[in-house]
Symmetry: C2
Subunit: 191 residues, 2 copies
Amino acid sequence: MTLDVKTLCLGVLTQGEASGYDIKKQFEQVFSYFYVASFGSIYPALTQLAREGLVVCREESQPNRPDRKVYALTEAGRERLLATLQATPPRHRIRSEFYALLHFAHLLPARRVGELIDERLSDVNRTIEEIENMLARLGAEDCGLEPGQRFEVELALHTLRAHRDFIQKNGPALAREAQANTSSDLQYSGT
Amino acid sequence: MTLDVKTLCLGVLTQGEASGYDIKKQFEQVFSYFYVASFGSIYPALTQLAREGLVVCREESQPNRPDRKVYALTEAGRERLLATLQATPPRHRIRSEFYALLHFAHLLPARRVGELIDERLSDVNRTIEEIENMLARLGAEDCGLEPGQRFEVELALHTLRAHRDFIQKNGPALAREAQANTSSDLQYSGT
DNA sequence: GCGATGGTATATCGGTTCGATATATGACGC
DNA sequence: GCGTCATATATCGAACCGATATACCATCGC
């Protein structure tokens, strides 16, 4: 079994009612570093969950705004969530264009290799900052994280920092090496 | 633009001819820790690449065996690969049931939390070993890695080890904490 | 000699998901 | 008055995963 978008939506709804839009924001703010989900999967998921009776939908028609469809977890939904969490193996997959590009770096011009390193570095730093900000925000509001969530966040931070430190330390050498190779033997001459 | 299976197949074919089956093995042995691709995507990808003239297919009918369809990169294919590698942003996404389950660990019985930690730990250790074995094999055969590939593998190893070390150090405390919570307040009472 | 297991090899199919796009409205700056 | 941003829902094609089917051979236990 796999943790699909439907299950994650149920999970978000354990924290209270939410619209599809709210859930998307949750995904971006809380899950973004280990899960992505777009409107294209969230809205159909909610529709289907409602059909299965795992959530109920209440339409909030507010003046001068598009209708808000607010979803809430049902008892059946809660049970389904718990059962699925029980049965799901803890997989962990990476889909990385960055690693793939490094794998074929020898086919690329040196400048590009340096850019890849820099771009990855700023991406990682942005992610780390986002998580740190989230921690600070939660700390200030004192709406405590569950122990599992604290572990999760700290593990992610620890892992990301190690990732960043390695790139920071060894990235420049790789860029220089690529430079040295290209100066004598041009692999790619632009478009 | 995204690095899709088609592009990765072109990349594998820069190292020489290969069948779909060979390419799958390459994916498993070399890309497995940052990319997954199944037969269900590789075979259609090769068919389409052949239709576009980016690879050529030679059918090797060997006695008492299913035919082997051996694919080779064309000049157009090589150019397409380089252009795509040039244009692809270095994204890096994680899809982790493990992190997700940690996020909802407070809904799970304590035993399950401990099992998740253990299972993740042995998964990570297996991955680390596989990479180390691959490095040893390549070192013995002296078919050197490109600098980018060496960087890639060492970055992955460094990151995975940090990930493992954190879990090893702090996992047991989380499992104990879950235990303490469950003893007074039972969240889930089995199926 | 025979079934089980596992490796080689290709292929398809359903269901899920990504990413882009469409539509509509209000707020806010300038 | 105009662009841009946030709120809000929705759809659609393309891509992809994972399971499954098919077929043959080698090896090994029994």
